[in-house]
């Protein structure tokens, strides 16, 4: 066990101490930040926040527009100026004192139409400011509870007659979970998997196999490599998640839905728990393939065999929605490469019995243990074949049972 830890530590520090790792690690969040910053800057600078006039012909406007603070680059305020007549407003627009003016017609309460006259087309900031001002005037004098009642849409909590399918306002949140779980799964597997393939093939390319197996057992070596390389992927993921959380917190008002997700503990805990054996299974499978090939080029070709089946649940989203307890849905939630996403998808559309969740979890642990055993076996079979690619069947031959 101690040597497994040493191998894992070596594999981890080998990658983490490389410049390439940090460049790859920082490139995504920095790139993302730059992209967000740039788009915000472009959006902020492209929006004209000079004053907008309005002419009230309806008599609905009783409030005086406040003084808007438009000083900040990212300010979303526009100063509204009242004009008595359309002529006065047009004159001010011609003199570029205002960029546009809006006319609230006499029949607004029946037509709900505003006329907008502009030098520059309307933008979202102006639209929001005018709408808010108009709404505030229309609601003037109403009590706050009444306003909430008017503005709140009803939620539909539905359930199929047999009780197996439910949907609630929480549905969006529940679908959001399998999407995130799937992304996490792909990221870690693709990153760790490629490292792991490389790590196993490196042993062959460097001819270190024979020395290594006279120091550690093939199982210790493979388990150490798998844990070390998964940790590299998880490190990247955790750091990105921290950056994403910071970004989401900073720009909280731009993604309010994210903070309004109403998720039960089990909605997050079960997928996360399923991810761990799935990571180990996938990584061990990558290592098994790595042990059967002889070069880095070959290894990258075979990695597709592992990555492709992971996308299967996304092809069957409709099946999961309509038949969450159907045969295909069940098979995919037990199949280790699709289990985390498939199980989470089923949880979004049905009440998965606890016994089945436990059965899926146990099956995934068994698959993970089996895959580690298989990886050790493949390593033993392929370790001294430096130049010859071995077949999967060779793993089970008697000669392969070296140690």
């Amino acid at each position: 066990m101690n040597k497994t830890f040493e191998v894992a530590k070596y594999e981890y520090t080998r990658h983490v101490s490389k410049k390439g790792f940090w460049i790859g690690l920082l490139a995504l969040p920095i790139g993302l930040l730059l992209l967000i910053g740039l788009s915000m800057l472009m959006s902020a600078t492209s929006i004209d926040k000079s004053p907008v006039g309005f002419v009230d012909q309806s008599g609905l406007i009783t409030l005086k527009p406040g003084t808007a603070d438009t000083s900040g680059l990212f300010s979303e305020n526009v100063q509204l100026i009242a004009f008595s007549t359309v002529e006065e407003a047009a004159k001010a627009a011609d003199a570029t004192q205002i960029q546009a003016y809006v006319v609230i017609p006499e029949n607004y309460l029946t037509s709900y139409k505003l006329s907008y006259y502009f030098n520059k087309p309307i933008n979202s900031v102006i639209r929001d400011n005018i709408s808010d001002f108009l709404r505030a005037n229309l609601m003037e004098g109403e009590s706050v509870p009444n306003l909430e009642r008017i503005q709140t849409s009803p939620d539909f909590v539905s359930q199929s007659l047999d009780g197996t399918m439910t949907s609630s306002p929480n549905q969006v949140a529940k679908i959001f979970v399998p999407l995130v779980i799937g992304m996490l799964f792909f990221f870690v597997v693709i990153m760790s998997g490629s490292y792991l393939l490389q790590a196993v093939v490196d042993e062959k390319e460097n001819r270190t196999m024979e020395v290594m197996v006279t120091s550690v057992s093939p199982n210790e070596l493979m388990t150490g490599k798998i844990l070390g390389n998964i940790s590299v992927g998880l490190t990247q993921l955790i750091l990105w998640a921290v950056v994403a959380f910071i970004l989401a917190t900073v720009f909280r008002d731009r993604v309010p839905w994210l903070f309004e997700l109403d998720l039960a503990f089990k909605d997050v805990a079960i997928p996360v728990l399923l991810l761990l054996p799935a990571f180990i299974f996938t990584a061990a499978l990558m290592a098994t393939l790595g042990a059967t090939v002889t070069s880095t080029e070959e290894s990258s070709q075979v990695s597709g065999l592992v990555i492709m089946p992971m996308t299967i649940p996304y092809y069957f989203v409709v099946t999961f929605m309509e038949h969450p307890n159907g045969v295909l849905s069940k098979i995919l939630s037990y199949f280790p490469l699709s289990s985390p996403v498939a199980t989470t998808m089923r949880m979004a559309f049905t009440n998965l019995p606890t016994a089945e969740v436990v059965a899926i979890f146990i099956s995934q642990i068994l698959f993970a243990v089996f895959s580690l055993w298989l990886a050790g076996k493949a390593f033993k079979a392929g370790m001294l074949h430096y130049t010859k690619r071995i077949k999967l069947i060779d793993i089970f031959r008697k000669e392969a049972s070296h140690a």
Binding site: K3, E6, V7, Y10, R14, D202, N206, R207, T208, M209, E210, V211, M212, V213, T214, S215, V216, S217, E220, L384, Y386, E399, S401, H402, A403
Partner: protein, 302 residues
């Protein structure tokens, strides 16, 4: 008590019988030569010994019992297929290798600088392995084999890629290890090194043991009554009692007729007035024994 006992091991790969009933023992404080032509079964025997392969039949005892994970820490192995991690620094690579042999960080820090100094690699410790010459990599591999102070040292062609200075360094090191009571198994094709270093040998070919025993005893056994002489004069064309005269450069080999003793030959040469600078019994070299045994394919057990 033997450190290593190999008892009638057999190993077949498909149709090929790689090891055929091989037995030998290796004792503490000796350098044991595991010899044989290419593809004779030496490496397979070593891999069985190290539990990399399982023997089809027969048994191996290492340090008083079957091989296990714990015993790996007491063995230093320099395989025929040399290999170190090319993309990392020499010091890091050796530290990692030593860690896997159960050494603590403190023990490595105490021993590694001395070995690097001894092998003249201190200035290169921060270089990646791939930046080092083949000879330097060979020395690095030797450090990885010896740093954890193993009780058993198994080395395959330890002198390949080494210049004469480093060859002598490794020879001295092996002798030093032998004197410290270590058990050393050495595979090599350099028979002059075998003559100089090995106490006992086993010679295998086609997976079978052809020759096994004490090196000096074996050489004696192969010694005939042939003599090697050095003379400053001209040898007569016919010398009574000599069946064949063979020029071997600075020396001449005299092959006596059957039944003629060496002492009689010496008397005859003096009687014929041959000026002798040297006269010695022609003990066969290991090269000669190797060729004779491998070509003959006979068993010469001690």
């Amino acid at each position: 008590m033997s450190t290593i006992t190999v008892d009638k091991i057999n190993k077949t790969f498909g149709q090929l019988k790689a090891v055929d009933d091989v037995s030998f023992e290796v004792n503490p404080g000796e350098i044991f030569g595991l010899l044989g032509p290419n593809g004779s079964g030496k490496t397979t025997s070593i891999r069985i010994l190290l539990d990399i392969y399982k023997a089809d039949s027969g048994s191996v005892t290492v340090l008083g019992g079957p091989m296990n994970e714990e015993k790996k820490n007491h063995i230093g192995y320099l395989p025929e297929e040399r290999g170190l991690y090319q993309d990392i620094q020499l010091e890091k690579c050796l530290t990692y290798m030593a860690t896997l042999k159960g050494m603590t960080k403190e023990a490595i820090a105490a021993k590694l600088p001395g070995y690097l100094e001894k092998f003249d690699l201190t200035d290169h410790k921060k270089k990646k392995l791939k930046e080092l010459s083949k000879g330097m990599q060979q020395k690095a591999q030797l450090i990885a084999t010896l740093i954890h102070d193993p009780e058993i040292i198994i080395i395959d062609e330890p002198f390949s890629a080494l210049d004469p200075v480093n060859t002598q360094l490794v020879k001295d090191l092996l002798i030093e290890q032998r004197e410290a009571g270590k058990t050393i198994v050495m595979c090599t094709h350099q028979m002059n090194q075998v003559e100089m270093l090995c106490d006992r040998i086993v010679l295998v070919d086609y997976g079978k043991v052809l020759l096994y025993g004490d090196l000096q005893e074996i050489r004696k056994k192969f010694t005939s009554n042939q003599v090697l002489i050095e003379t400053s004069g001209q040898l007569p064309e016919n010398i009574p009692g000599v069946a064949e005269i063979r020029d071997e450069g600075t020396r001449t080999r005299l092959i006596p007729e059957k039944g003629v003793l060496t002492q009689e030959l010496l008397k005859t040469l003096i009687a014929h007035g041959v000026p002798l600078n040297a006269f010695e019994i022609a003990v066969p070299t290991m090269d000669e024994i190797f060729i004779e045994v491998v070509k003959g394919g006979n068993n010469y057990h001690e």
